[in-house]
């Protein structure tokens, strides 16, 4: 299979067993022929043992021992399949409220989110929660799958009714691209193959949608940002004076001769070369890993950011962010954390909790300011040294950060700069 120009699309599926999420993933894998014989045989055996008729597709996404015993997903699981058009990575996340942190994790790298709605029940609290997280994490594409259409007699009227319900609340959210699909994961209607039962639906099935969706513009190509991960100083023959700044382009495009500024120091220089093991490049764009050499011998190290002089991020020690609390231990007021922002890691504290958001109703709570696991709040963050930030809406890499508890080294919060 030649896949030279094929892109990678990452998508997340949030949902619970009840709305057919596992069945949908199983159906995608099965109908796209991504299931191996030994996997199929294992699932057939288990299906029989559990007394199911035929193959229980949901079992393909069976996870850890505890999860199998309890019949629920606890953690994010990653699954892979490839079609002649694209490679796909699914971040399969549990949908219950106590797993908000896992949904946030799965959503952080996704190009697209699948939201499942049970056609019998329509929009429920969980739908709103999933849509909110997709919007908070700025997933560029949202695909709302109205599932179990077979249980509502494949009714177009019911389908349209649910779309209206969804649009009514989603107008409060910021999502660029929303699509709707009537499907039956159980029977396979509009998943990989077009539905024979819903001729009234003119759009493409789910897989085709995923294969053809335009994702090249999901990455910011305007603001050139290059966080330095490490400095390469080979000090061997042929490279005695070589000093390359290794990193991955976060956004924008860099070319030799570009006027650049190293932040936060503010030193300016020009790009001398953009190097890889295969030679020099004429340009580098996100998400390429390269090393950059500069014309001038200036002090650059990990934590610094090389940017184009004409377009700089803000170097700030105080900013506002939406954060999701990820840890069992609640946030401690004014406690010190380490902030991980690109390759920079100064100390930080949450100076103020402005308000918490109820992710089911989108209401603001300005009274209770304790921040517990799975809660989302707007906060003010203060850092000991400047961080080079963009708004998360413009830049998912320079606009995001995590907080680490210095006492436990655990990752306790995920933040998006507003």
């Amino acid at each position: 299979m030649e896949l030279d120009n094929n892109q990678l699309l990452r998508f997340t599926t949030a949902g619970s067993v009840d709305d057919g999420k596992s069945t949908l993933i199983g159906r995608l894998l099965y109908d796209s022929k991504s299931i191996f014989e030994d996997q199929l045989a294992a699932v057939e055996t288990t299906s029989k043992r559990k007394g199911h008729d035929g193959v229980d597709l949901a079992l393909f996404t069976d996870g850890l021992k505890d999860e199998r015993e309890q019949g629920i997903t606890i953690d994010v699981a990653y699954r892979y399949f490839t079609t002649p058009k694209r490679k796909f990575i699914i971040a399969d996340t549990p949908g219950h409220i106590q797993y908000t942190r896992n949904m946030v994790t799965g959503a952080s790298t996704a190009n697209a989110a699948l939201i499942l709605i049970d056609a019998r029940h329509g929009v429920i609290e969980q739908t709103k929660r999933h849509a909110f997280i997709a919007s908070l994490l700025q997933i560029p594409h949202l695909i709302v799958c109205i599932n179990k259409m077979d249980l509502v007699e494949f009714s177009e009227e019911r389908y349209n009714e649910i779309i209206s319900q969804f649009e009514e609340f989603s107008s409060k959210l910021y999502v660029k691209d929303v699509r709707f699909l009537p499907i039956s994961a159980l029977l396979g209607d509009n998943v990989v193959n077009r539905s024979e039962n819903m001729k009234w639906y003119q759009g493409a099935p789910l897989l085709h949608t995923l294969e053809t969706m335009h994702i090249s513009s999901d990455i910011n190509k305007i603001d050139a940002r290059f966080p330095v991960q490490t400095v390469l100083r080979p000090q061997r023959e042929g490279f005695i004076d070589y000093r390359g700044y290794a990193g991955r382009v976060a956004s924008g495009i860099f070319r030799p001769n570009d006027e650049v500024t190293v932040m936060p120091s503010g030193f300016t220089s020009k790009i001398k070369s953009i190097d890889t093991d295969k030679g020099e490049l004429a340009e580098a764009f996100a998400p390429m890993s390269v090393s950059i050499t500069l014309e001038d011998d200036i002090d650059v190290s990990r934590g610094d950011m090389i940017v184009k002089t004409a377009n700089k991020p803000e170097a700030s020690q105080e900013f506002t962010a939406m954060i999701c609390w990820l840890h069992n231990d609640a946030a401690k007021p004014r406690a010190k954390y380490t902030i991980l922002h690109t390759s920079n890691e100064p100390k930080a504290m949450i100076k103020e909790v402005l308000y918490k958001i109820d992710i089911n109703t989108y209401g603001r709570d300005e009274e209770n300011k304790d921040l517990k696991m799975n809660e989302i709040a707007k906060v003010k963050v203060k850092t000991t040294r400047p961080v080079m930030i963009d708004e998360y809406r413009d830049n998912r890499i320079t606009g995001s950060f995590t907080l680490v508890d210095d006492a436990t080294h655990e990752t306790v919060a995920a933040g998006m700069i507003v």
């Binding site: 896949l3 120009n5 094929n6 892109q7 990678l8 191996f36 014989e37 030994d38 996997q39 069976d62 996870g63 850890l64 021992k65 505890d66 953690d75 699981a77 990653y78 699954r79 892979y80 490839t82 694209r86 490679k87 896992n102 946030v104 994790t105 952080s108 790298t109 994702i215 090249s216 990455i219 991960q229 490490t230 390469l232 080979p234 061997r236 490279f239 070589y242 390359g244 290794a246 991955r248 190097d275 890889t276 093991d277 340009e283 764009f285 998400p287 390429m288 890993s289 380490t338 922002h341 390759s343 998912r396 890499i397 995001s400 950060f401 995590t402 680490v404 080294h409 655990e410 990752t411």
Partner: protein, 301 residues
Amino acid sequence: MSKYYLNYLDELESEAIYILREVWAQFENPVILFSGGKDSILVTHLAKKAFYPSKIPFPFMHVDTGHNFPETIQFRDDLIKDLDAQLIVGSVQEAIDTGRVAEEKGKSATRNSLQITTLLDAIENNKVDCAIGGGRRDEEKARAKERFFSHRDDFGQWDPKNQRPELWNILNGKHFEGEHFRAFPISNWTEMDVWNYIKKENIAIPSLYYAHDREVVWRNDSWIPVSDFLKLEDGEKVETKKIRFRTLGDITITGGIESDADTLEKIAMEVSAMKKTERGDRTDDKRSESSMEDRKRQGYF
């Protein structure tokens, strides 16, 4: 206008290079776990790219079960010499000889789980704080939930229910003394991706991956190679078959498949038409539904 997006293999490469550089920046004493299999060879190749024009800054660590394919060891030694790198060998045979672990008994005895003790000893004795592995999430269901930076407690154990969330491309390698991390730069690659990339980059791999004539016996639905360690059971007979291996583990448990694929092109073609998962020929994974998860919890690769 030129295209400003990467194809999927370039994106996976770039992600792996990013992770390898983070390991170097965040840890004091990282090593590459090297088995001589294609996945650890791939990680080595990516590390060469990540630090070019510098040398790979990590030593290599091999957990030697004593039940190797001779070709694997030859390949390992040649590669290490070529890279001018340091090799640390943890020996399972030595652990058995000194009574640190006991050999399994019975027909399907393997040294697979004995590797855990040797690996953890080698990590501790060499004060390794991050061991870079070639594990992939598509290999097995317990691996599907593994992080890029996977935390191990001071007993070397993995707690799948208490993993650090990993968001965006932010990796948290902070740890206390005595704890270590496993890093998996090729987490997001599938077997097919690995072969397509090996073909694209023309990476040298042990001859065992190419179809060749070999003496084998039919056992557990695959062709087990004849070696000094193999004890023939009643009714088993030695045959010469043209086979190749999809994965390389211990010579005692790694089954080959009949194949004519003797070039990278043919291997990639064959893999894309495969009907069984690559670990389907590994006896170690057939023991129970959660054998990989159980081994991983204890500190396995």
